[in-house]
Subunit: 348 residues, 4 copies
């Protein structure tokens, strides 16, 4: 922690500050610059968040140096983490594709789409049984019935399952079905939910909040990890900015920035970033170009009748196009998009 | 709902669109402009959210006209709503001040500060027993013990109590103590929580999400109302923007905009918007100037040792200053800040 | 300047850094914390912006301490500056109101509106002869003819004149007519223009850029001041954020933050922040509450036929209402809105 | 143009609105929905921007349909435009790379770096002689001397030259040296400059403003085109958002959105978006993935001593890496990065 003094700070201000620092059990180190004083603070700074030096006379600014997250930090664990979900490996240098309908609507729809994405090379099946909706009057998901359908689709396709959990009270239930639990963007700072999902210990796909800073995103990953879920994959799905030409602004720059600070894998969701089918592939390729470890994509074979987010779902042919071009670009980047799963033959 | 066609749209595109509209049970009305076609759609549009016309050939844009919220809308209820919390009336044209510590730390601290704010004219006591914190390592609140302390502080001061609830599982518990339940900014779109709080039916103070649009804010109020809680007060507490000179950007323009669209009261939280004691009063006055129905203010008599958000808490003298100037400005605006509560004498 | 080292930085990294610092003529001061090294740098840091230490091995972050602006800084000049424009004083503790049409359209319209605002107590006349318009097809202003009309309106009303300059080539021309030159929001970082306006030396009203940080705003004021224009008044007119319920987001929090860092006066433009007549007064009062030294307001007596920004112009009666309530709120805040000008009688 | 009426609008309100529309020479078309009235307006709507219907009683919202730009619009010109700069073709389906130092510092530095980028396959030489700097105390460029150096570097390498113009008064001068004039991000709405550059008629590289919407970007392109410069290339260089992990937020989603609305080419500047050498390549690849027609990249062989933006400049080896991987990814996307210029042999 570093304290920058006002140019008009007096020696008395400095003394008072240093006394306070010592009182708190730390050691002050004064640096006298040409136009102002700076005080560095050393000592066991585990609780330094509570030093409250800002209000002291002559203090201009207090700069925290120690990062508030540990388990998610690359300083703690320099090598990349690989998150294994039923044999699919996020962060091993290759590209993982999670695909499926935004919401489970019916058994037929879900199984049909699950087969479509499996046949075209997806590695995980995505699909929501509990849907957080902006409107109280919109379809809220099938609940446990939806989880059963997803489990059946997994059975048939062999694809491990990632599905959202929205309530601390249903974490155990969702955990009985899901291979990976998804935390939605609106719940990234639902700390009660993070705690319960953390305790479950299963792999987690945590979407970045709509206006979450990189540090807040890492702090939410830290919640999960500190409660027991160490297999965390973060997902960039677009942030909220002044623009309106896309549903959200896909922040590709967070990918290299995240990888610098953390050892965890990070993927992108081009569907929710785009909001419109025709721009999903460009955004997916942008994410791959920026270094994402995977994709999360909405696919639907009858999007005109989809109950949730139909306009952004890729059609089966579009998904095939995405897989083809993603494979070529991945190869150009020295990555593979080949199946991490047991051979397709075995599934059949 | 209005459909704008591309300038290159053909008559065939128009026919197909109109067929589709009729198929869905609505009536198309074509307007032929000089450079393009526009189709207005009438009929019972309760489910129009699912028409999926965007993808049809020749369609440039689809504009939704019907607002997705009803209960919160001023179109439904033209006159202002007054929310009564233990005799304190939000929205009756006067200014309501909710004040107290950010968090309940100890019995002594809470009762001491409750007395301070009551003596200086606050109308409601605020204080958190369950604290949503960005860091898993930070103080998370005293839980039920904190609620008991708050209830005792209410007993002593006579001030009704507003306190936060963070988890659907503790809504009933918090409801046993609180006169008004607070939904925090990070939970404004925690729909599971909104549903449970809505079912309880007690008055709710709902903070606007950090990057919530006005429509999203109204939709979250609609969640509460449609589940049974009709006494909703919204709180603007600053939004996230590119600036860093304040903790958040207090969006005063949302106040008149909200009042135009909704009959519900809206107050401001200058403490969380500011992040720094010295700018709380200017922001409070800005909110009052913009037409806010009340204030939510952090007060602490020993902020250097506060466990949460000490730097933004007003000291007792600062709170007195705020009450004095707020009273003068309210009078200038034709409002009153006089107590809505039973006479102070009765409380003593 | 402070350098924070990576936790994995070696002694060798430290040596290399310190050598480099000494090579550049500065003195390094190493502080050894529990988990990382920090190096403070002292010496004449006038050019420290070019030290380029970020790329050295082991360096995590470089924090600049010295502020990049001097003349605009309160550290350089602790007391408030008062900017005198033809006898009207910005920053003397009272409220200055600049009002008039957004654009000069005709001689009659301008003189008529100038009289309206003068009669209702405005202190300066505003009006644009050169209009920066988003569309090349929109009315671009009357140019020099407009300046002549404004000068005539000044003659008649006695109100000093503030008008916009958009081009380095017309600074001298505009300076022949204007008492105060306005820099528009889109030109806040038009450095060629700032230089020329600075050289002229007349008072300047500089609008904050649409997404300018506080530091950038101060740097642009510094451009003006370092080239000779020391009488600078800054104007907050709303910034660009994710919201759409107002034309711009009036950032009231910048007012106390600006006043902390700078001695210059700051006013608000509620008209351009709002975009809609009915919310101009609430935003004006919000600005006054936050501590603004004045207002810049669009007024038009026939806004339906205004060539620019009609929907946001106050009608004469609305302007009277604003002046009345602004006077009452100013009084409540210990300010005055009484005329700073020669007595109205003299003007008549 | 479409007018949406309030649910409480009366027949009288409707009559008054329709009269007004007819008065203005247009035709109203009333659509009676279940809960509200909507009025479509047809007629020659060239000036519809000035209809001022918002203020009429019963009017809730006015929606403009006609786009305010014509020349830049894909509706006007459906096929992609190709902008030819000295034989280099932007928008022909291949990738164009503009590279060089951010600023011309000395003759030696410029020629040295020009050779480096030419040898590694760049198609255009970039470099600034006039530099818009946030600080009045920072290096402002060499001016005409810098232009002469750039011309010499062009002579030696054969690379056409793109360089920035910052002032309407120097447009002719810059035009004598440059093959393509660059408009900087802070000048995107400097309309005086756009007019002069437009009149010159040479190819223009126009950077998107730091918080410009897509429509504003197109309007500025329209300024250039309507004044005579039809060869406009737009450059996305990152926008300003709440994040701070990159210098700016590269908005890749603007690329497909821009291409949908306009026929003009669009490239990305990963250097200014990133601000840091180590993330330039991921952002460049993100831009290519999203469909950009080219790159604008800072390269420096001694960035520690660069006068401007050293930390973001690629080193020669880094630029080689970028060219290699950009070539592979372009191929994967069916594009080429091969030289559009006369054979290298000819240049030697």
């Amino acid at each position: 922690m570093i304290v920058i003094m006002d140019v008009h700070a007096t020696e008395k201000d400095l003394e008072r500050l240093n006394e306070r620092i010592r009182e708190l059990g730390y050691t002050p180190h004064t640096i006298r610059g040409d136009d102002r004083l700076v005080v560095g603070i050393t000592g066991n700074t585990g609780t330094e968040g509570r030093m409250h030096l800002e209000g002291l006379p002559g203090v201009l600014q207090v700069i925290r140096i120690t990062k508030p997250y540990k388990l998610a930090s690359r300083e703690t664990k320099p090598e990349n983490s690989v998150v294994d979900v039923g044999g699919v490996k996020f962060g091993d240098g290759n590209l993982v594709v999670c695909a499926g309908p935004c919401a489970v609507e019916t058994r037929e729809q879900t199984i049909r789409i699950a087969k479509i994405v499996a046949d075209r090379g997806a590695h995980l099946l995505r699909g929501g049984a509990f849907k957080p909706r902006t409107s109280p009057y919109a379809f809220q998901g099938l609940g446990e019935k939806g989880l059963e359908i997803l489990a059946e689709a997994r059975e048939i396709t062999g694809l491990p399952l990632v599905t959202e959990v929205v309530d601390p009270g249903t974490v155990t239930l969702v955990g009985q079905y899901a291979d990976m639990l998804q935390i939605g963007t609106r719940n990234m700072q639902n700390f009660s939910l993070l705690r319960e999902v953390g305790k479950l210990g299963k792999p987690v796909l945590m979407k970045r909040g709509m206006s979450a800073t990189l540090e807040e995103t890492l702090m939410s990953a830290e919640y999960l990890m500190s409660h027991g879920a160490h297999d965390v994959v973060v997902c960039e799905r677009g942030v909220r900015t002044f623009t309106s030409h896309a549903r959200n602004t896909l922040d590709v720059s967070v990918i290299p920035a995240f990888k610098k600070l953390s050892h965890l894998p990070i993927i992108v969701d081009p569907s929710h970033a785009s909001g419109s089918r025709e721009t999903v592939i460009p955004l997916a390729l942008a994410g791959i170009g920026a270094g994402a470890d995977g994709l999360l994509v909405d696919v639907h074979d009858d999007p005109d009748h989809a109950l949730v987010d139909g306009p952004q779902a890729l059609l089966p042919d579009g998904f095939q196009d995405l897989m083809d071009v993603a494979a070529r670009v991945s190869t150009a980047l020295g990555k593979s998009i080949a199946s991490h799963r047991p051979a397709v033959a075995e599934r059949a």
